[in-house]
Amino acid sequence: MQVRRASAYSLLAITLMANLSGCGHIEPWVKPYERSAFADPIMSADRNPASSSYIDHVHEVREAARGASGSAGGGCGCD
């Protein structure tokens, strides 16, 4: 039942995204030339990928919580 519900959520999200992608006429309120802060490496969510995936792994194998970290991981039996 949970798997079916998750598939339904996926379908809903996909449909929403497909519809949103057609809405190209919204005027950006932050112009491209005003976005220099986001190009600075200190603002990157993926600044050090090998290092950040390691510390995520350290927490994940010692806690019950999993997911919603914005990235995909692999499985292991490590605990």
């Binding site: 949970q2 798997v3 519900r5 998750a6 598939s7 339904a8 959520y9 996926s10 379908l11 999200a13 996909i14 449909t15 995204m17 497909a18 949103l20 992608s21 057609g22 809405c23 190209g24 919204i26 005027e27 950006p28 309120w29 932050v30 491209p32 005003e34 976005r35 802060a37 986001f38 600075d40 200190i42 603002m43 969510a45 993926d46 050090n48 990928p49 090998a50 290092s51 390691y54 510390i55 350290v58 927490h59 194998v61 010692r62 806690e63 019950a64 919580a65 999993r66 997911g67 919603a68 970290s69 914005g70 995909a72 991981g73 692999g74 499985g75 292991c76 039996g77 490590c78 605990d79």
Partner: protein, 383 residues
């Protein structure tokens, strides 16, 4: 056609073409070390990301855990002996940029002798609304093979058990102001099959409480299904004097009755060729419905666990990091950074007692806690 397959097909057909950005070319060589609670894990990790052309980038990672464990569980079950094992994880992946849509695919294999896990990940992200918004979707499927070692050999009597995993991810990243970007993530993970640890055991009272003076051990029994829902919100703010503040909150809930909260805060401050970072993290969860530190009598419940990861606990961690960046004149390597990060983590368990002092009754034994140190030292080369 199964709903999952149908979802994936729709996912790959429902986007029109725009332009995004591929990850930068880099190679990371990292040494990692965890030391806490009688467990030491260290090893290397090597990550390579390289663009083939303007629209395709590949990545590969080789990661090793060298484990020496005399954890409290190992000491309780097998006396004072420690065990050593090695886990090797290999992954390959690709990003394909088509207009403003990025498709990603990766495959991960993890092998530690008695536990082999294969995971396939698919993802898609699209920039929209003048590139202020990025929406991403992801799907993962994992196949685990679980064995049990006896005297360094797989136990034929145990055989091989299987565990299958699936996950669905939805993410939204939104630029709100010239200095603030926020994100929302939601993920559902389901697991089916053999989900317990074949070595871990539960404690059972020798006499029903309140007369319990000592304990015996029995194998754990877990449910064969597990579904987790998790949602997170994060924000990144660029401070006026060129520094960054990152915050994150995650809430999780699962079908085993565990609810969890995670708060993270990080401050990043560059100065000349140096970058300093400091951060803190707080995590708390309640126990699974079928967890107990000690059970009143043998098989008092259908499902029984004494995994402290499923117990009521909180962890507090602090993080310090320093990076030094070099600019290099070569076309094949235009930059290098040397990085040293350290983390201190304290785990405080509210219903998991230290079982080793058997002169005390199980209910008098002290609550357990772990102080752990994590070190990451790595060199990153920018190609």
């Amino acid at each position: 056609m199964r709903p999952t397959t149908y979802s994936l097909l729709l996912l790959f057909l429902s986007f029109s073409a725009f332009a995004g950005v591929l990850p930068e070319d880099r190679i990371d060589v990292l040494y990692h070390r965890y030391d806490g609670g009688g467990v030491k894990v260290d090893g290397p990790s090597v990550l390579i990301r390289k663009k083939l052309n303007e629209s395709v980038a590949l990545n590969a990672n080789y990661y090793v855990d060298m484990v020496t464990s005399a954890s409290i569980d190992v000491q309780m079950i097998s006396g004072a002996s420690q065990y050593k094992e090695r886990r090797v994880q290999r992954s390959i992946g690709a990003d394909w940029l088509r207009g403003k849509t990025t498709y990603t695919a990766s495959y991960i294999n993890s092998d530690e002798g008695d536990y082999i896990a294969d995971t396939m990940n698919l993802g898609i992200s699209e920039d929209m609304f003048g590139d202020l918004t990025t929406v991403s979707l992801g799907y993962s499927r994992g196949w685990d093979k679980v064995g049990r070692n006896v005297n360094h050999h797989l136990d034929p009597a145990f055989g091989q058990k299987n565990a299958d995993h699936q996950s669905w991810r939805v993410g939204l990243s939104q630029i709100l102001t010239k200095h603030l970007i926020t994100g929302l993530n939601f993920e559902v993970q389901t697991s089916e099959g053999y989900l317990q640890n074949p070595y871990r055991q539960v404690r059972v009272c020798d006499l029903p409480p309140p007369n319990c003076t000592d304990y015996t051990l029995e194998p754990e029994v877990y449910p064969h299904t597990h579904t987790t829902n998790a949602a997170s919100v994060d924000a990144r703010y660029f401070l006026p004097y060129r520094a960054a503040l990152h915050g994150n909150y995650r809430y999780g809930h699962d079908t085993w009755g565990i609810g969890s909260h995670t708060f993270e805060l990080e401050y990043v401050h560059p100065w000349r060729s140096w970058t300093f970072e400091v951060g803190g993290r707080y995590y708390a969860q309640n126990a699974a419905d079928f967890y107990a530190d000690i059970f009143p009598f043998s098989r008092s419940q259908n499902f029984e666990a004494r995994d402290r990861n499923l117990s009521d606990f909180a962890s507090y961690s602090g993080h310090l990091g320093v990076t030094y960046d070099f600019k290099l004149p070569w076309s094949w390597l235009h930059g290098l950074s040397i990085n040293l990060f350290g983390d201190y983590i304290q785990y405080k368990y509210n219903d998991f007692r230290n079982p080793l002092d058997r002169s005390l009754t199980p209910f008098e034994q002290p609550l357990y806690d772990v102080n752990a140190y994590v070190v990451r030292f790595f060199v990153a080369g920018y190609l």
